[in-house]
């Protein structure tokens, strides 16, 4: 599903490129829950940003369904790959429903109107994460854990075969962490999605994942 060849990730500055991690070679298949591990600052987020098309690779290539990721339009990519990031969302009267419904953006008309089918998908995404009772609440009124769930529900509404989550367990309590990985695992098995999660909860994560990738300080990838 995803083929990563000789990938170098990092940032482009005016004169020089700042390389963060080099020589990433990976093949990832659908139906897998992949755990991405590594110390702070090692380049997990940079790697994930590159993988999701938010950052351009410094060198190498990412091939998604046998097409280079650069050859997809933003719109096409939005229907293949969704993200959950750590940056908080809120304000501007945004309700739980609004945020989850935003997952339908790649599929709806320019006037932003959802049809009955879209609404059904949003509702079932809310159900899958037990967010139904909160649907009309403002995002600002939620706890961190609830916010995280809302963002995952948004990803579900986006109906992408691939979901990438950057540290989704960071703000969660013990039970919520387990519930989260339960949900992710279920999505992988039942809907054959490819889910990539970065996290520092290594022991917990290892109970659920099908494959682990560790980024080490020696610029090595350990894949198990």
């Amino acid at each position: 599903m995803i083929d990563i060849k000789h990938l170098e990730v990092g940032y482009r500055e005016k004169r020089k490129n700042i390389s963060v991690f080099k020589n990433i070679n990976l093949t990832l298949h659908a139906g897998n829950l992949i755990g991405l591990m590594g110390d702070n600052g090692i380049g997990k987020s940079t790697f994930l940003k590159t993988l999701t098309g938010n950052l351009a690779p410094l060198s190498g290539e990412i091939v998604l369904n046998s097409t280079n990721i650069n050859n997809y339009s933003t719109q096409q990519l939005a229907q293949l790959l969704s993200i959950v990031i750590t940056e908080k969302v809120g304000g501007f009267n945004l309700t739980v429903w609004d945020v989850v419904a935003s997952g339908r953006t790649p599929y709806i008309s320019i006037f932003g109107k959802l049809n009955a089918e879209d609404e059904g998908i949003v509702n079932s995404s809310l159900q899958q994460l037990n967010l139904e009772p909160l649907r009309d609440k403002l995002i600002d009124a939620l706890s961190d854990g609830q916010r995280q769930k809302v963002m995952i529900a948004k990803s579900l509404a986006q109906q992408t075969p691939i979901i990438v989550l950057d540290e989704p367990t960071a703000f969660l309590d013990y039970t919520s962490k387990h519930l989260l990985f339960d949900t992710l695992k279920k999505l992988c098995v039942e809907q054959n999605k490819l889910i990539i999660v970065s996290s520092h909860d290594i022991d917990l994560m290892k109970q659920y994942i099908t494959k682990s990738i560790t980024m080490t300080a020696e610029n090595k990838l350990e894949v198990f």
């Binding site: 098309g53 990519l77 953006t105």
Partner: protein, 332 residues
């Protein structure tokens, strides 16, 4: 917000707008009803004085409120607005420069050619300032920085304008100072024929950005992942706001308060984040606010026209402060 509620709210707001429009047309130092409709004075007052003024209120109020809404969503900052971020100051400075140039080459500043040059300059000024703010906002994501830069930019532009005014003739200076206080009374019907098509295009095009604007409320990275061309959205919003602010500032002077406060009030009153709703509400409320301001101006003084900025600020700001205290959650 449900579809039916949205339509109902829009109808209610429109009724208020119609009432204010009629009120603004009928009310003034001369009682229209005391005149015969065949009296030439009747048509002069109605069509040459009051109608252009009322239309200007509607266009300027709705345009500025829309600009405020677009900027607040784009920067994800409820404190953004054409006046606060220095966009109006950019327009003002360029209007000052244009007026100086025109008067120095001995062309009358107030015939049609002069006005269109001033308008073009005004739009260019607004565009340049917005562009600078945008470039800075890409380098530094902090809302507070953007706001401070906007304020500083406004100060710098104001200072340059003061320099120009200092060196200008007494006549030009007077025109400037009065223009700077904001006025909706100096637009003619002929001006409006030139303004309305441009205004209509800018307003209509904003409806094409409803979906991207909704998505960018999450944040830029999410918006991009949802298939939105963020750079294209930014540029489009800048162009729309620059045209509207430039146009309005050229004809009415830098009008404060409406741009920032109407979207805030609209969000506090109508709990919706959807841009179809907010754009419609802001357009109508913006027009209502400026019409009321003009109405109050006339109520307070029959002899002379009060500067509209004084009224919008004096009456509008306390309302927003009250709303902010009343609201449970952050407005942004």
């Amino acid at each position: 917000m449900k579809q039916s509620k949205f339509i109902l709210t829009t109808i209610y707001l429109s009724l208020i707008l119609v009432a204010l429009t009629i009120g603004d047309l009928c009310f003034g130092s001369i009682n229209l009803f005391s005149l015969e409709t065949t009296d030439p004075l009747f048509s002069t007052i109605l069509f040459d004085i009051r109608l252009p003024k009322t239309l200007t209120c509607i266009l300027a109020g709705s345009g500025l409120a829309l600009c405020g809404l677009l900027m607040q969503s784009l920067f994800r900052n409820p404190l953004a607005g054409p006046y606060v971020l220095g966009v109006s100051s950019g327009s003002s400075l360029f209007v000052a420069i244009a007026t100086m140039l025109i008067s120095s080459i001995q062309v009358s500043g107030f015939h049609f050619m002069g006005k269109s040059i001033v308008t073009l300059f005004s739009i260019a000024g607004a565009f340049l300032v917005t562009l600078v703010i945008l470039i800075i906002s890409k380098k530094n994501k902090s809302n507070i920085t953007i706001l401070l830069v906007g304020l500083m930019l406004g100060q710098i532009l104001g200072a340059v304008q003061a320099l120009i005014e200092y060196t200008s003739s007494a006549n030009n200076l007077k025109t400037f100072v009065i223009w700077g206080m904001g006025s909706v009374g100096s637009t003619t019907l002929q001006d409006l024929f030139f303004v309305i098509p441009i205004y209509a295009i800018a307003i209509t095009s904003s409806f094409y950005f409803i979906k991207p604007l909704n998505a960018i409320l999450l944040n830029e990275q999410y918006a991009q992942n949802l298939g939105i061309d963020v750079n294209n959205l930014r540029l489009s919003i800048i162009i729309i706001t620059a045209i509207l602010v430039g146009l309005i500032t050229a004809f009415c002077g830098p009008i404060a308060f409406v741009g920032i406060s109407v979207p805030i009030a609209s969000r506090l009153f109508f709990k919706t984040s959807h841009h179809l709703h907010q754009i419609v509400f802001c357009l109508i409320i913006g027009a209502c606010v400026l019409l009321s301001a003009d109405f109050i101006c006339q109520l307070l003084s029959n002899q002379f026209l009060l500067p509209i900025n004084t009224v919008t600020t004096l009456i509008g700001s306390p309302v927003v402060i009250y709303l902010l205290f009343k609201s449970k959650f952050s407005i942004g």
